[in-house]
């Protein structure tokens, strides 16, 4: 009998403790709190002022935004790339507004889209790349932005207010832009590397890390074969197949989350990675790493914040967008993730070293030449299949 009493007390303590902890945490969404005994009851312990305006100390605080009454529950579900939203930014937002932010990550646009489409998860903010924004606008999946609630949008550089996939920022606000390029560990690799042809050589077999993104890899092969990278027809796919078949066996690691890890660990000495990852490596060890934009051509990507139509807290989402457009906040993002910052006011706050980082900020004339990805619909599955096939050949 003693075991039983002991266990019952422990179980009771566990259950009580869990309820307590759950109460301290996020209040569970109304539809999900049903029969499970350990379910949390909605008791938000943070008391925030009813009217929370993005009270900024900069002259950009607009009186109209301050007056907006936001009676949504103090929650924001953010679905974003891993390695893209700094925790200090999220914490600062929560501190200022009292809104708790739930973060879920993905490592590719396609993954994000699939999770959104399968309809299970409920997200307020997404961070798609330009070609996915294009597709989502076409399919009427996005909620138009109420720009009167986002006065800080004037901080964006003019180029980023007139993007061809969403002119006038009706649905999206650019978060960061960047390129995909080559990073070289010059201590290990002494030959000059200027492009894909130099990277994918037999002698570097097993020393390469690339992004685990079929669309990306295919675009590099297209560029190397002189084909326009958005022209993903079945014909062109067959044309680039031999290139891919010669490239992929040389790759040691596929990683879109954090390709710099393999480079830092010394497991690889060459990488085709996001420009932000390259910039971080350059920052960490400038004598050891070098950044090169492939001579065959690369592309520009623009990741933006968008609000899906199914969002439950759209006003909170708009507050967050306005928040990150503040120059200091945007500079914080650049601090952790040195991509191409579209915020002109923020750029004024960056240090000369940051601005000189050639991975973060390519020369203007280079940017002008770069293309962005366009939506390719069902071909994305074909592309993914091909890469998987070649990986295992």
């Amino acid at each position: 009998m003693k075991i039983k009493t002991h266990l019952l007390t422990t179980a009771a303590a566990l259950a009580a403790g869990t309820l307590f902890l759950a109460g301290c945490g996020k209040p569970a969404d109304a539809p999900t709190t049903t029969e499970a005994p350990a379910e949390a009851t909605s008791t938000p312990t943070e008391t925030a002022p009813a009217e929370t305006a993005p009270a900024t100390s900069t002259p950009d605080a607009s009186p109209s935004a301050a007056g907006a009454v936001n009676d949504e529950p103090k929650q924001l579900n953010l679905f974003c790339w891993s390695e893209y939203v700094p925790q200090p930014v999220i914490d600062a937002f929560t501190e200022r507004t009292g809104i708790k932010v739930n973060v879920q990550n993905y490592a590719s646009n396609e993954e994000m889209l699939q999770k959104l489409l399968s309809g299970g998860g409920q997200y307020d903010l997404l961070q798609p790349s330009e070609y996915i924004v294009e597709a989502m606008i076409k399919e009427d999946m996005l909620r138009p932005l109420d720009l009167s609630l986002i006065p800080n949008i004037k901080n964006l550089a003019p180029d980023f207010r007139a993007l061809d996939f969403d002119p006038g920022n009706k649905f999206s606000v650019p978060w960061m832009a960047g390129t995909v390029g080559i990073v070289v560990n010059v201590e290990q690799v002494t030959d000059p590397i200027t492009g894909f042809a130099d990277v994918f050589q037999e002698k570097y077999k097993g020393q390469i890390v690339v992004l685990d993104d079929a669309r990306e890899i295919v675009s590099w092969a297209m560029a190397a074969n002189g084909l326009p990278m958005n022209d993903i027809t079945d014909e062109n796919i067959e044309k680039i197949r031999p290139t891919l078949q010669s490239w992929l066996p040389l790759v040691k690691v596929y990683d879109s989350d954090s390709p710099k890890t393999a480079m830092i660990n010394g497991d690889v000495s060459l990488g085709v990675v996001w420009s932000g990852e390259g910039a971080l490596l350059l920052d960490q060890a400038p004598e050891k790493f070098k950044w090169v934009l492939p001579s065959e051509g690369t592309h520009l990507f623009v990741d933006s914040l968008v609000i899906p139509k199914t969002a439950a807290h759209p006003k909170n989402a708009e507050m967050f967008i306005n928040f990150i457009l503040e120059p200091e906040i945007s500079a914080m993002i650049s601090e952790d993730f040195p991509y191409l910052n579209p915020n002109a006011a923020a750029r004024a706050l960056l240090t000369p070293e940051q601005l000189a980082n050639v991975a973060s900020f390519p020369p203007d004339e280079v940017i002008a030449e770069l293309q962005t990805f366009k939506d390719i619909g069902e071909q994305s599955s074909v592309v993914d299949d091909m890469i998987t096939t070649i990986k295992i050949e």
Binding site: M1, K2, I3, K4, H6, L7, A11, L14, A15, T18, L21, A22, C24, G25, K26, A28, D29, P31, T32, T33, T34, E35, A36, P37, A38, E39, A40, Q75, N77, L78, F79, S82, E83, Q87, D91, N102, V103, Q104, N105, S118, G119, G120, G121, Q122, Y123, D255, D257, S258, K260, T261, I264, N265
Partner: protein, 277 residues
């Protein structure tokens, strides 16, 4: 004196024989066990040691510090994820224990028509690959228009946990005195009272083992969670996986050290409670 020492040695030498088969086997197996334990524990020890290391890299010892533990406790994401894991694991454990115990007893006690089919069905979640379970449950939840979150997680975790409780209780039931329940009822108990006051105490070891197993499985579950989580119910393994992908982070070392500590404490606790009865 010298004579007795040498004669003592002599006797010992005379007595020494080649270890017999079973003894030799015991020595060899024992040595092998030590080696395997080393294999199991050295990585964990390394994690723990380097959780106190000044440097970010798990390579050289630089200096002693507890900063990573501080960072860990202040890491709002991980703390929240830990709470979520606790909530889900506790919910799943309670449901699993109830389902498994009552289910096992009912199947033992009564002749239900589809018993063989039931046994097979129960076996399925135990061995089904987690990805299939995760994916099929996701399809179910989506079609039921259920919001992904705590509820779906607890349901999913219970589904693969309760068979362990059930099977464990079934095994224990094999050794039960068949007339135990009848004896209780002869003394005036209803079937429910007999179950609760007589059978359950007998089954306790199996129930406890099953509950512990459920909790552990649920707390450590990654794949099923990946498919059934909502944005606010991210559990610890999901966050840890993301961090592990990003590379070395001493906070993970600190986390694992705490895990091991918690496990050892629980084990000691259960040993102590056993001794008292």
């Amino acid at each position: 004196m010298g004579a007795s020492a040498t004669s003592g040695l002599g006797t010992a030498l005379a007595r020494w024989r080649m270890p017999s088969g079973p003894q030799l086997q015991r020595i060899v197996f024992g040595g092998w066990t030590i080696f395997v334990f080393a294999f199991l524990y050295i990585p964990i020890l390394i994690l723990i040691i380097f959780s106190f290391n000044e440097s970010r890299l798990n390579l050289q010892w630089v200096g002693f510090t507890t900063q990573w533990y501080e960072k860990l406790f202040n890491n709002a994401i991980l703390v929240k994820a830990f709470k979520n894991s606790l909530i889900v694991a506790t919910g799943a454990t309670i449901l699993s224990t109830v389902l498994g115990t009552i289910g096992a007893w009912m199947m033992y006690r009564y002749r239900f028509p589809m018993r063989n089919a039931l046994n097979l069905l129960i076996f399925v979640p135990m061995v089904m690959p987690e990805i299939l379970m995760g994916v099929s449950l996701l399809i179910l939840f989506v079609n039921m228009h259920l919001q992904l979150g705590y509820t779906t997680m607890i349901i999913a975790h219970t589904t693969f946990c309760f068979p362990f409780v059930l099977v464990g209780v079934q095994a224990r039931l094999e050794g039960i005195d068949p007339f135990l329940e009848e004896a209780a009822m002869d003394l005036g108990a209803t079937p429910i009272q007999a179950f609760w006051k007589v059978i359950v105490p007998y089954l306790m070891p199996a129930i406890v083992a099953g509950a512990l197993m459920s909790f552990t499985l649920s707390f450590d579950e990654y794949i099923v969670s990946l498919f059934t989580t909502g944005p606010d119910s991210q559990t610890l393994p999901l966050k840890v996986y993301g961090m592990a992908r990003k590379g070395l982070d001493p906070q993970l070392n600190a986390l694992s050290a705490l895990f091991v500590l918690a496990t050892i404490t629980l084990v000691l606790f259960s040993q102590l409670t056993k001794k008292r009865t």
